[in-house]
C-alpha cells in the first residue's frame, strides 16, 4: 500500500478529459472543479470523525462504464459473491475445500480473521446473505481485474453517495443530457436487505447499526446510512444481553434488537465469545447469535473471505464452488506462507504492491504489528504480508499527469435476489514518492444505458422512522460528563484556596480554621485519612492516577465521557476539554513553579466549557441528564463539605464571635461569599450561612438550588421525553426533601446570632445541639443525593429494578 499516495488535486486530469462534452470549455471545467472541491470540503467539515477521516476531492470527470462493459463486471462480481459466500459457509462448516486440497490449510487456519469461536454456527442460521464489495483495478487494456474482496464490513458507500451528490451539483447539464443509472436508492435497498434477514425476528425487534466506535474514521458514513435507513446507530456500550437476547439500552427501557448491521470487525464484538478479546464489545452477543435471537449482517464469519492470501487461489475457489470459468481475472497475488513465494515477494518488493494479509489492527493483536513499514514486516514475519502484481499504471503522458491506478469498488447485496449497485466508488491512486498525504481523488462512476433515464436523480426521501428515545449510553455519559466536570472544577477551586497538606503542619493546632477547611475539602473529595497520610503533599495528590477523585482524575473522566459523546458535543467543546486536561496535566506533572493558586485558572477554563455547552448543546433529554449530573455532584460536594466543616466552626463559636475568617473562607470555598454580602450586607454569621448554603434557591451555590435544578430537569425529562414509561419515581423523593429543607427552621439549630451575651455554659450546650443538628441535616442531604444517583442509575442507565446501595462503586467508576 505504501507505494501509493493518492492523486494530487491537479487540474491536469480535467484538462485531459474528453473535450467539452456538455458545451463546457476548459475555464468552465476549472470553475466546476472548484465548486466540487468546495462541496467536498464542506462535507468533510460536517464529519464528526474530524481529523481521522481522509480528505477527498471529487473530479468533475466521471468514470463511464457502458452497458456492455457493465454486464461483464456485474456477472463477474456476482460469480465471486456466490463463490466466496460458499467458501465462508464451507470454512465454518465441513471444510471440504481443505479436505479436497484446494488450498493449503494454513492459509485459513493461520489467518487472524479465522475464528474457531465461530465454528458450526453459520449453518444453523442458514447461510450468509452478505453486503459485500469487490475492489478492481483497470489494466491499460481497459480490463478490470480484482484486487480485493471486502466481505466483512465494506465501507465507502457513504463517499459514493456523496460523490454522486457533489457531481450532480457541479455538472447538472451532464445529468440532464445523459441517461445515468441511479445510486441514491441504495440505503433503501440495504434496509430491505437487512429486514429480509430478520424474517424470524419478533415484529417489535428493531434494526440497529453497530458502529465501530467513536474513534472510527467512518463515523460520517455510519451516520449517513443510519439516517437514510431510519435506524439507530449504537456503540457496543449501548447494547446489552439479557436472557439470551440483545437489547438497546434507552432511557425508556430496553428495546429488543432483532437485526444488527455490523460495522465492527468480529473479534471486537464480544469479549466473552472471542478469546483474544478481553474488554471490547457486547458481552454475550455471540451466545445470542448462536441461539438465533439476533441476526447479524454481515455475519462475523464473512471476515474470512477478506483474507488476501485467498486471492492467489481465487480462480480455483470459483471453479470449485461454482463449477464455472472465472469471469473476472484476479491480479497475481503472492503470499509468505510458502518460502519460495516469500523470497519472490522480497526480491520483487519494489515492483509489487505490498499489503498486510488481513485487517492491520488484527495483526497487532496477533503480536506482529504491521506499522507503516510492510517491508520490515515482510522480513520479520512474511506470512503476514501479501504482494500483488498490479497491471501497468495508466497516465503519465503529460508532465503533470501522474502515473497511477484507477481502482473501482463495486457494492453487492447477496441473498435470494442478488443486486449489484449500478455505480461504484472510483479512486485514482498515483504512484509517487511524495510522502505527504494528499486528498483522495474520487470519481463518480456512471453506468450508462439500460433502463436509466436522464435528469438529476432526486434524493430518496428518508425512510420514516419513529421518534426514538435517547440511548442510555448517551444519557449516562452526559450525566457523568456533568458530574466529572463539576468534581474537577470544584476540586481545583477549593484546592487553590486551601492546601490541606500545607496547613497540616501549621502551628495553629487541629482546630485552626485552615485545618478545618482542609479536612472539609478532603471529605468532599472522599480522600480517607490513610490516603491523605500516604501522600506527602498536594502535589502528590494531583499526580495522574494517584487518587480517583483528584481534579486531574475527574477531568480525565470527563474527557473519557466526552470521547464517547463525539457527535453529541460540539467540536469546540471537545477541543476545550482536551486543552483543559492537557493544561492541568502539565500543571500537575511538569510545572516547575507549581503553586496551588495556579489551579484557580483551571476553574475559569472549566466555566468556559460549561458556557460553551450552554450555547451549543441541543436541549433534548440529554441536556437534562448533563444538568442533573452537574448539580447532583455539586449538591453531594456541598453536603459533604457542610458535614465536615460546619460542626468544627460551631465548636469554636465563642472564638468565632470575634473573627469571621473561617466562615468567610467556607463561603469562599462554596463560591457564595459574594452572594452572601449581596443578600445580607453584613459580616458572615453562622445562621445566615446555613440559610444561604442550604435553603436559598436563589443562590446557585446552595443545596436548595441543586435540588430545584435536578427536580426541574427530571420534570422536563418526564413530561417531554418519556411518553410511554412510568413517571420518574425520584421526583416524589425530591419534592419531599425540598419541602423538608424549606421548612427547616435555622433558628432552632443556631438560635442566637451569638451576639446576645450568652453564658459560656449555655453556649456549650447550644454548640452540642447545633453540631448534632448540622450533622443530621447534612447526612440526610448526602443520603438524598446518594439515593437519587442510585435511582437514576437503576432506571435509566443499568436498567436494574432492585435497589441495593450501589452508589459507592459507581461513584468511583
Amino acid at each position: 500500500m505504501e507505494l501509493f499516495t493518492p492523486h494530487p488535486p491537479a487540474s491536469s486530469r480535467t484538462a485531459n478529459a474528453s473535450p467539452a462534452p456538455w458545451g463546457l470549455d476548459a475555464a468552465s471545467y476549472a470553475r466546476r472543479q472548484a465548486h466540487a472541491d468546495r462541496l467536498a470540503e464542506q462535507t468533510l467539515q460536517r464529519d464528526p470523525s474530524g481529523a481521522r477521516a481522509r480528505p477527498f476531492s471529487v473530479r468533475v470527470s466521471p468514470l463511464r462504464i457502458a452497458e456492455g462493459e457493465w454486464a461483464v463486471l456485474k456477472a463477474g462480481v456476482l460469480q465471486r459473491l456466490r463463490a466466496f459466500s460458499a467458501l465462508i459457509e464451507d470454512v465454518y462448516g465441513k471444510r471440504n475445500l481443505l479436505r479436497d486440497g484446494i488450498l493449503p490449510p494454513e492459509i485459513i487456519y493461520e489467518d487472524p480473521f479465522f475464528f474457531p469461536e465461530l465454528h458450526g454456527m453459520l449453518s444453523t442460521r442458514g447461510g450468509a446473505p452478505v453486503f459485500a464489495a469487490v475492489d478492481l483495478v483497470r489494466a491499460p487494456s481497459g480490463e478490470w481485474q480484482v484486487v480485493e474482496n471486502r466481505f466483512s464490513t465494506p465501507t465507502g458507500i457513504g463517499r459514493l453517495l456523496q460523490a454522486r451528490r457533489i457531481l450532480a451539483s457541479s455538472l447538472p447539464e451532464a445529468f440532464r443530457a445523459e441517461a445515468i443509472q441511479p445510486v441514491q436508492s441504495f440505503p433503501a435497498r440495504l434496509y430491505e436487505h437487512l429486514s429480509e434477514a430478520g424474517l424470524n425476528a419478533p415484529p417489535s425487534a428493531q434494526i440497529v447499526l453497530l458502529s465501530e466506535g467513536p474513534e472510527s474514521p467512518n463515523l460520517q458514513e455510519e451516520e449517513l446510512l443510519a439516517r437514510e435507513m431510519g435506524i439507530p446507530v449504537a456503540h457496543s456500550h449501548d447494547l446489552l444481553v439479557r436472557n439470551g437476547r440483545l437489547y438497546l439500552r434507552t432511557i425508556e427501557g430496553l428495546d429488543q434488537v432483532g437485526i444488527l448491521y455490523r460495522r465492527m470487525e468480529p473479534p471486537w464484538l464480544d469479549p466473552v465469545g472471542f478469546s483474544a478479546n478481553k474488554f471490547a464489545g457486547v458481552p454475550g452477543l455471540l451466545h445470542c447469535i448462536r441461539q438465533n435471537t439476533v441476526r447479524v449482517l454481515n455475519p462475523p464469519e464473512c471476515a474470512v473471505a477478506d483474507n488476501r492470501a485467498l486471492l492467489r487461489h481465487a480462480d480455483a475457489i470459483i471453479r470449485y464452488y461454482c463449477r464455472e470459468t472465472p469471469l473476472l481475472r484476479t491480479v497475481p497475488t503472492f503470499y509468505g506462507y510458502d518460502r519460495d513465494q516469500a523470497e519472490w515477494i522480497d526480491d520483487h518488493r519494489d515492483a509489487l504492491v505490498l499489503k498486510p494479509v488481513c485487517h492491520p489492527a488484527l495483526l497487532e493483536q496477533a503480536g506482529t504489528s504491521p506499522g507503516p513499514d510492510l517491508k520490515a514486516l515482510l522480513k520479520k514475519d512474511p506470512r503476514r504480508v501479501v504482494g500483488q502484481a498490479y497491471p501497468a499504471p495508466e497516465g503519465g503522458s503529460a508532465e503533470n499527469d501522474p502515473k497511477g491506478h484507477s481502482l473501482l469498488r463495486l457494492f453487492i447485496l447477496g441473498g435470494a435476489h442478488p443486486y449489484v449497485l449500478t455505480g461504484g466508488l472510483c479512486r485514482f491512486r498515483a504512484i509517487t514518492d511524495a510522502p505527504a498525504p494528499q486528498p483522495e481523488a474520487l470519481r463518480d462512476t456512471w453506468v450508462t444505458g439500460g433502463s436509466a433515464r436522464t435528469g438529476i436523480e432526486p434524493l430518496e426521501p428518508q425512510l420514516a422512522s419513529r421518534p426514538r428515545p435517547l440511548p442510555s449510553g448517551i444519557a449516562e455519559n452526559l450525566y457523568w460528563f456533568g458530574r466529572y466536570l463539576e468534581r474537577g472544577l470544584s476540586g481545583c477551586r477549593m484546592l487553590a484556596l486551601v492546601d490541606p497538606w500545607e496547613q497540616r503542619s501549621a502551628s495553629d493546632g487541629p482546630d485552626a480554621p485552615e485545618v478545618t477547611l482542609g479536612d472539609g475539602i478532603l471529605a468532599a473529595l472522599e480522600v480517607t485519612v490513610s490516603e491523605r497520610a500516604e501522600m506527602a503533599s498536594l502535589r502528590a495528590f494531583l499526580q495522574p492516577h494517584r487518587h480517583p477523585n483528584s481534579p486531574l482524575s475527574a477531568f480525565l473522566g470527563a474527557q473519557a465521557a466526552m470521547r464517547a459523546l463525539r457527535g453529541t458535543l460540539s467540536e469546540t467543546a471537545c477541543l476545550a476539554v482536551d486543552a483543559m486536561v492537557a493544561k492541568l496535566e502539565h500543571l500537575c506533572t511538569a510545572e516547575p513553579d507549581f503553586r496551588p493558586e495556579l489551579l484557580f485558572r483551571m476553574g475559569s477554563d472549566g466555566d468556559a466549557i460549561i458556557g460553551n455547552l450552554q450555547r451549543t448543546l441541543l436541549r433534548d433529554s440529554g441536556w437534562h441528564f448533563f444538568i442533573t449530573g452537574h448539580l447532583l455532584e455539586r449538591g453531594s460536594l456541598l453536603s459533604a463539605l457542610s458535614s465536615a466543616v460546619l460542626p468544627k466552626i460551631v465548636r469554636r463559636m465563642d472564638w468565632h464571635l470575634q473573627d469571621e475568617a473561617d466562615l468567610n473562607s467556607f463561603l469562599k470555598l462554596t463560591g457564595c461569599l459574594h452572594l452572601y454580602h449581596r443578600i445580607y450586607h453584613s459580616r458572615a454569621f453562622l445562621d445566615r450561612t446555613l440559610q444561604l448554603i442550604w435553603q436559598s434557591e436563589a443562590c446557585p451555590g446552595s443545596i436548595a438550588h441543586c435540588l430545584l435544578g435536578i427536580r426541574t430537569s427530571l420534570g422536563e425529562i418526564d413530561n417531554q421525553f418519556l411518553r410511554e414509561s412510568a413517571p420518574i419515581e425520584s421526583q416524589a423523593i425530591l419534592d419531599e426533601v425540598r419541602q423538608w429543607l424549606t421548612s427547616l427552621r435555622i433558628e432552632t439549630i443556631i438560635p442566637a446570632r451569638g451576639d446576645k451575651g450568652l453564658s459560656p455554659h449555655s453556649l456549650s450546650l447550644l454548640e452540642k445541639r447545633a453540631i448534632t443538628e448540622i450533622r443530621n441535616v447534612s447526612e440526610r442531604l448526602s443520603d438524598t443525593f446518594t439515593s437519587l444517583h442510585t435511582a437514576l442509575d437503576n432506571r435509566f442507565f443499568c436498567h436494574q429494578s432492585d435497589t441495593p446501595s450501589a452508589f459507592h462503586h459507581a461513584f468511583l467508576g
Partner: protein, 292 residues
Amino acid sequence: MLFSVKHTTRYLYEEPVSESIGELRLSPGAGPAQKILSRHLHLAPETPLLEFDDFFGNRVSAFSIPQRHECLTIIMEATVETLPARDPGPPADIPFGQARRAPAGDHLDRSLYRLPTPAVPLIDAKRVLPNRFFRDSMPLRTALLTLNQWIHTSFTYRPGATEVSTPIETVIRERTGVCQDFAHLMLSILRAHGLICRYVSGYIEANDPGRPAQDLVGAHASHAWLEVLLQDGTWWGLDPTNNQTAGERHIRLAVGRDYHDVAPVRGTFKGAVQQRLKVSVSVQRAKKDFLL
C-alpha cells in the same frame, strides 16, 4: 481408577455487581483415557446454562446473570474413571525428523495445533535449549521425554510466580513458572519443530494413597499439560511439570491451542473492580460400589 472431582470457583465482590456473562469450560469429556460416570455443574445465583461444543470439541456452558449479586459461585462435580496409560507403541519410535512436518492426515483440523498463537509464539528453540538437543535421527519418544525432563529440571515450579498474561519470554528468562507456563513452553518448542500438539487442562491426583513419597505438583487448582499427535492419530500426553507421561492420575477437562482456548471460566461483569477469587479443587478416589 475412579475419582470424584469437585472444582469450586468463587468470586467475591466488594460491592454488588451485575450483568455477569461468561463461558465455562468445566466439563470433562469422555475419551480413550477416561469415562465420565456423572457430571454436575451448579451456579449460584442459579441460572440456566446454554451448552454447546466448541471447535476443539469441548463442552461449553454459557451463563448470564443480569441481577445484582455480591458473590458468584461455580461448582463442578464429576465422577471420572481413568484408564492406565497405554504405551504409545511403535508410532513413538519413528525418528524425530520424520515426525516433524508430518501431514495432519485425515484430521485436517489438527493442523491448527501446529500454528503459533499469541500466548504460544514459535520461539527459536535453539536459543533456549542446550546445543544439539534434538537430532533428527533420535526416536520421537526419546526427544519428547528428554524435553519433558529438561523442562522439569531446568525450571522451578512456584505457584503464583506468573500470571495468565505472563509472556513465555519472561518464563524463559526467569526460569520459573507454573504448570501452564511449562505446557506453553513445551508446546512452543515442539511446534517450532513442526509437531502437532495441544494444550490440556485438567486435574491431577496429588497424593497416591499407596505411594506417599510420589506426590505430584499442580493439584491445588486445575492442572495443565500437553498432548502430542502421533502418526497413528492418537495423542500422547506429557506432563513437564511432573516429568511424567499423562496417566491414570490425570483427569482431562478440555483441550485447545493454548490456555486461552480452555480457560475454565471466562467472562465479564459490570461494577466494582475489587474482586476476590477463591478456587478449590479436590480430587478423591471413589469406590465403585459406592456409585452403584
